[in-house]
């Protein structure tokens, strides 16, 4: 029976081609969109984690309370020992120390007087240790506009827009005026090693990146850091595992009081990112659902059209004695075959495009150049195992349901009127 139906579908293109193309296009769009949405979610999470939050972050309780104010007077002390402890206590993560800093960047003239000045907000990370993953995480090489990455503790990389507004470039000397860990005003000279485009409005207006050792010296923070970031060794944020690690870490210190005790937050706990992740999840599901409904309607319509076009054929088949149920079942069988074939073609096309976008991505930098949230400039698709099967939901269900509804007309056929209809 299946073989018979398959032959019919393949040989009678007029009967199968349009529904098959419709299913394939719909499935292709579903698969490609699902993979791109997944990629956007993973990309944004990864970018935010790399730039700002880590998958988990350890801070002092006092720092965590006012983290947005960068309270370096409440920074973590004895950081090297703390990182060693974290490696043993919370395995499965790579741990790195970072310090955020803010202040003024002052540019001197030939006499050492202030030529220009502007507020600066930056991050200090381990840029100099060979094998450090930090330059890669911060994607500094990608955004480099002029000069080079810092190669000495007294070098700083600043945003290209900021550099132009201050009238400086690579090789120029600047003075960072900031606050030390004790809250005292500090002044430290740096050399601009290069300029970079971060692709994020706030950082492009006043951003800077320096090596951790240089900023430690500038802010009088020996063996101290504002934050210790933990990244899953897999590189992918696992919300459940991160939450479990943070709960266990914090529970072990619950009985110890003091503002300078370390506390661990997950990416989802920071700056409302949990809400953002929930939103992305639900937005993705909603988008797919919204897409599935019109897809089903289109395919239902295709089924209706096919059934209507074959109204005469059904009449003849009924007239020669074929049972209505058999005609109906054969119609459903055909729709399943078309659905499977269309889904396979659509999924193959969708995955091909998604794999391509997974490696190349789409550059949306110009679209988000003034974005207030951290969005990676290039968003890549992400092909997941679910991407292989998601197309079957609209591909099979929509054609099957569409045909099932349209095929109900078979049962309304009056055999007595058949010959009259065939005569006309």
């Amino acid at each position: 029976m299946i073989r018979f139906l398959l032959k019919g579908v393949l040989r009678d293109r007029a009967r199968s081609l349009f529904p098959l193309i419709t299913v394939a296009v719909g499935v292709f769009l579903t698969v490609a969109m699902f993979c791109y949405m997944k990629g956007a979610e993973v990309g944004m999470t990864r970018y935010t984690a790399n730039q700002q939050t880590g998958h988990v972050k350890v801070m002092t309780r006092a720092y965590a309370r006012d983290a947005d104010l960068i309270p370096n007077d409440a920074a973590l002390a004895n950081v090297d020992a703390l990182i060693e402890g974290l490696k043993a206590e919370v395995p499965g993560f790579d741990w790195v120390a970072r310090t955020r800093f803010a202040g003024l960047l002052d540019v001197p003239d030939a006499n050492g007087e202030t030529r220009s000045q502007g507020p600066v907000a930056g991050v200090a990370a381990d840029l100099l240790t060979p094998g450090s993953g930090e330059p890669g995480r911060l994607e500094l090489a990608r955004g480099l506009k002029r000069g080079k990455l810092p190669s000495r503790p007294d070098e700083v990389l600043i945003s290209d827009e900021f550099a132009r507004s201050l009238g400086i470039g690579p090789g120029d000397r600047v003075t960072l005026i900031s606050s030390s860990m004790q809250g005292a005003m500090t002044m430290t000279n740096f050399v601009v090693s290069g300029t970079v485009r971060f692709g994020f409005q706030a950082l492009d207006r006043m951003g800077a990146v320096a090596d951790l050792s240089g900023i430690r010296a500038a802010l009088d923070m020996p063996d101290a850091a504002g934050e210790i970031l933990g990244f899953f060794k897999t590189g992918v944020f696992d919300r459940k595992a991160a939450g479990a690690a943070a709960r266990a870490f914090n529970a072990s210190r619950e009985s110890v009081s003091g503002d300078f005790e370390p506390t661990m937050l997950t990416l989802a706990d920071q700056s409302g990112l949990g809400w953002y992740l929930d939103y992305l999840d639900s937005a993705g599901a909603l988008l797919i659902a919204i897409f599935l409904v019109p897809m089903s309607l289109v395919l239902w319509n295709a089924g209706l059209l096919g059934s209507l076009r074959r109204y005469g054929e059904f009449g003849v088949r009924l007239a020669i004695g074929e049972a209505k149920g058999h005609v109906y079942r054969s119609l459903l069988g055909e729709s399943l075959i078309i659905g499977v074939l269309g889904t396979i073609v659509g999924t193959a096309l969708g995955l091909a495009v998604s794999y391509r976008l997974q490696s190349k991505g789409i550059n949306l930098e110009s679209l988000f150049k003034n974005a207030a949230i951290m969005i990676p400039p290039r968003i890549h698709s992400r092909v997941t195992p679910f991407g292989y099967v998601i197309g079957f939901i609209p591909g099979l269900l929509a054609t099957f349901i569409g045909t099932a509804i349209a095929g109900r007309g078979i049962y309304k056929r009056q055999t007595a009127r058949l010959f009259k209809e065939l005569e006309t």
Binding site: D73, A77, D106, G183, M187
Partner: protein, 248 residues
């Protein structure tokens, strides 16, 4: 005889009456405080002990001060701060850091930063107007501080540019020294407190020798100021009050 005894009794009674009971108004007390606080010139060696959130730090400095408008300070200790200089000329303030060989003007939002991590802001340092010029005073009672009888004055700002909306002073009735102070924002929120722990007499003047200044909004136990030596009416070289001299 009876009349003479009565007259003598009245005289004794008058002498025993507190000054407030005599003719001094709140405004004139404030003027006396201003007069007492702004002498001609002085050289001060001082120590600042900053009790921060984590630990305490000691900072030593030497200051040359002329009136309320000119002050030059060189930090002597700890080694990280050694050689840092600060020059105040009227409304302007510069700081020089030897490690950067840069002289930076401190203005705008930087004025709200803390001086060497202490509870004192640069804005506090820049206060050079007499209190009577900026605030209206009213008597708010009497109290004893450091076993000294004091007037309590309530000050309300009368100019737009005042750093604080209102202040409360405990003024020594005899020495016209402020022994305790509370500084409030315009909203009425307490921002800073000053508590004099001891006073000393130098060059015929009474000065606070040991005081604790506390930024109430900041965690920590406040900043102690200890005057190690003070020399009044000292001759101060003119070049100290020259901005170009900061780099020397």
């Amino acid at each position: 005889m009876k009349r003479a005894a009565l007259a003598a009794g009245v005289l004794v009674l008058c002498a025993a009456l507190p000054v407030s009971g005599q003719t001094l108004s709140a405004a004139s007390i404030l003027e006396q405080v201003d007069r007492n606080a702004v002498p001609g010139s002085k050289i001060i060696q001082s120590e600042m002990i900053v009790h921060g959130r984590r630990d305490s730090r000691t900072i030593r400095a030497k200051s040359w001060v002329e009136g309320a408008d000119k002050a030059f300070t060189e930090y002597l200790y700890p080694p990280r701060e050694q050689g840092v200089k600060m020059l105040k000329l009227g409304d302007q303030l510069w700081t020089y850091s030897p490690s950067t060989d840069r002289t930076i003007s401190i203005s705008g939002s930087m004025l709200r930063q803390s001086v060497m991590g202490s509870d004192l802001s640069y804005e506090d340092m820049m206060e050079n107007q007499k209190l009577a010029e900026v605030y209206d005073a009213r008597a708010a009672g009497e109290a004893s501080v450091l076993d000294r009888p004091c007037w309590i004055l309530g000050l309300a700002s009368k100019t737009e540019g005042a750093a604080y909306g209102s202040r409360k002073l405990w003024v020594d009735k005899e020495r016209f020294l402020v022994l305790r102070e509370e500084r409030y924002a315009k909203s009425g929120k307490l921002l800073k407190t000053l508590e004099v722990r001891s006073v000393m007499r130098s060059g015929g003047r009474w000065v606070p020798q040991h005081a604790v200044f506390k930024d109430v909004l900041k965690e920590g136990q406040g900043t102690e100021f200890v005057i190690q030596s003070i020399e009044f009416d000292a001759v101060i070289p003119v070049h100290l009050f020259d901005k170009a001299g900061l780099r020397k």
